[in-house]
């Protein structure tokens, strides 16, 4: 008796599921996991609405995660219950997922839509083993943001070369202003300084070789980078106590005029402007030249969308990626993000910092790096960034730091 009832309940359940599925037949579901902040989220919802209007038989279900929590969550949901689309980052950051077979090869989307040309600037950072593993939709420039009022106050000119930059620092120091500010509590802001010093001292190819583990950390060229850095550290031109500051804390020092320069990504502009800075008081300049023989290279971390290996609706996911790669979609998304589109036919927003970034990146002769913690494997990035932070606090420990990094290199890149 009981078993009959059980069986009938089960049958009913199956019927209900089947019925539900057949009802949804005229709209195919496409699940998308993402980690957007509020403004980008609104932009993406608009893009998705456009996509659904163009593809009425597809229903995109966007599940948004907290930005930091997403980095942990992705490891669980990729293996347990994969969505059809997932946000992630380009470069070495996607390598663990590609190598463990968690992301699908989407080279056909690239070939069918001629993306190698349209998204050419990001192709290298999306390619592993000669295949493309996702579609990039935005990137942003790094550089030096400075307080124009403070520059006027001490009578400093916007520098073109490293020598001029250091000369300015002496003026700022005299006026009791931090020449360079940073907040390295979360470690990564320090890597921005290292990357730029390295890109200007040794160039893009060396940066990639170093982050790929092909160069010893005790190499003379690495020491040269630290020697240039020393010109900032030794005279105390960098904000003291940066190790206890978050990057936003350091941003407020720049806003209050207690600091002059901040080596940062363009996302910081929103924080500067929230703090009361305007286009008249906030300036942007490319990192000054150190070695004129080295071709100028820049950093522009790229955000991407991927199809997990466990995706159920791969066909429609590829349709979405193709759509996201179009010039129109990228223009629209990046206008809301306040960042730069990757599709070369897109247009950029009417904003001095975005325009400066577009100008900077589209004319870069040397190459575009992602960022230290995206180009280097995660473990190396962690050890490296700790080393950079320590160098800025205890420069006399340089030899120990470099030996520690070299030891880590020997272990990590096997």
């Amino acid at each position: 008796m009981r078993s009959i009832r059980k069986a009938s309940v089960a049958a009913l359940a199956i019927f209900a599921v089947a019925g539900g599925a057949s009802l949804a037949q005229d709209k195919r579901t496409l699940t998308y996991y993402a980690d957007f902040d509020p403004a980008p989220l609104a932009a993406f919802e608009a893009i998705i609405a456009d996509f659904e209007a163009a593809n009425p038989d597809i229903d995109v279900v966007l599940q948004n995660f907290d930005h930091e929590g997403y980095k942990t969550a992705i490891r669980n949901f990729l293996t347990a219950d994969a969505p059809d689309l997932a946000n992630w980052y380009a470069g070495n950051r996607m390598a663990p997922f590609v190598e463990s077979g968690q992301f699908q090869d989407v080279s056909d989307v690239w070939a069918d839509n001629n993306l190698s040309e349209a998204l050419g600037s990001a192709e290298a950072s999306m390619t592993i083993d000669g295949k493309q593993w996702g579609v990039p939709y935005t990137y942003y420039q790094w550089g030096i943001y400075y307080n124009k009022e403070v520059y006027d106050e001490v009578g400093a000119e916007v520098p073109e070369t490293w020598e001029q930059f250091i000369e300015n620092c002496a003026k700022f120091k005299e006026a009791g202003i931090d020449c360079v500010t940073t907040g390295t509590k979360a470690l990564w802001p320090g890597a921005g300084i290292f990357d730029y010093l390295d890109l200007r001292t040794n160039g893009y190819d060396f940066h990639m070789a170093l982050t790929n583990g092909e160069v010893e950390w005790t190499d003379d060229r690495v020491r040269e980078v630290f020697a240039n850095w020393m010109e900032l550290v030794e005279p105390g031109y960098i904000t003291e106590n940066h190790a206890a500051l978050d990057w936003q804390d350091a941003a407020s020092l720049l806003i209050q005029g207690k600091a002059a320069n901040y080596i940062m990504g363009n996302f910081a502009v929103a924080v500067f402007k929230d703090g009361g800075m305007t286009d008249n008081t906030l300036g942007f300049m490319p990192f000054p030249t150190i070695n004129p023989d080295v071709a100028r290279a820049e950093e522009a971390p790229t955000d991407t969308v991927h199809i997990p290996a466990g995706a159920k609706n791969v066909e429609d996911a590829k349709t979405f990626l193709a759509y996201l790669a179009t010039a129109d979609a990228q223009t629209k998304v990046n206008e809301a993000l306040g960042q730069l589109p990757i599709n070369k036919d897109s247009s950029v927003a009417d904003d001095p910092f975005i325009e400066a970034g577009f100008e900077l990146l589209s004319t870069t002769p040397g190459g575009i790096a992602q960022f230290f913690d995206r180009d280097a494997p995660a473990e190396m990035a962690k050890v490296g960034m700790e080393g950079f932070q320590q160098f800025m606090v205890q420069p006399e420990q340089l030899d120990n730091i470099l030996e520690r990094l070299e030891k880590a290199r020997g272990r990590i890149y096997k």
Partner: protein, 308 residues
Amino acid sequence: MTTAVLPDTNPRTRSWWRRNQQSLTPWLFLAPGIVMFVIYVILPIFQSFWLSFYDWDGLGEKTWLGWGNYVELFDDDAFYTSLKNNVIWLVLYLLAVPAGLAIAVFLNQAVIGIRIYKSLFFFPFVISQVVVGLMFSWFYAPGFGLFYKLVEWLTGTGVAVLADPDLVTYGIIVAGLWPQIAYCMILYLTGLNNVSPDQIEAARLDGAKGLKMLWYVILPQLRPATFLAVVVTVIGALRSFDLVSIMTDGGPFGSSRVLSFYMYEQALSEYGYRMGYGAAIAVILFLIMMVFISGFIWKMIRDEKEGY
């Protein structure tokens, strides 16, 4: 009563149940707890031991390393920093026990409103460790923190405790002591309620007072409370994690790491995912804890036999 709950028509089963009822019932009541304990505590311990012999990123294939993780661990500066910090934590955290006792003795008097004072002193234990960590990081914050300003006013230059590799661990321990002292205080306050008034009276007649009274009459009667306070504090010191994570994230450059935080960093943080290495750290931490835990258990069994 039990037969009423378990109506059974088979006379043989019932008699077996009757015969063993007394010895089975405790196990039945313990069963849910034991199952949970085995699944969520005992099994993971063995899994950690097993995992610590592998190299695994949490996603791909595991590779057998043998003792590789341990060899690397014993050649890892960060491991020794964490170990050293754990020892500092252990020693300084125990200050919570005498400090808690002092406050408890001070508060153990009948004045109007004493309950309010007691609850005020207990308050830090009620708020979450995360909030304690945040409050203390503002307290220490360079530029605007109260402590920073105070030191600046006294000496001319402020000290950013959380940015200083030599001071940072002490700074975090002070934050940890705040709620821990409150906890020890409550343990002692309840203990003081049970101190026998006759003995105090007798001691007073014999002329004992002040510290002598405390040391020879009160403290021996507080032994159970002291034992509990020490156990809780030692375990608390060894698993200190939340404050480190909130206040410094292990920094500056890893100088405030403790073993539990280093384990988390290696196994689960954004730049980690070395499950095997994390498991090896967990095993070491487990072994250290086992020294204390078996000591405590040994003492409890001995006390029980003596009939405390």
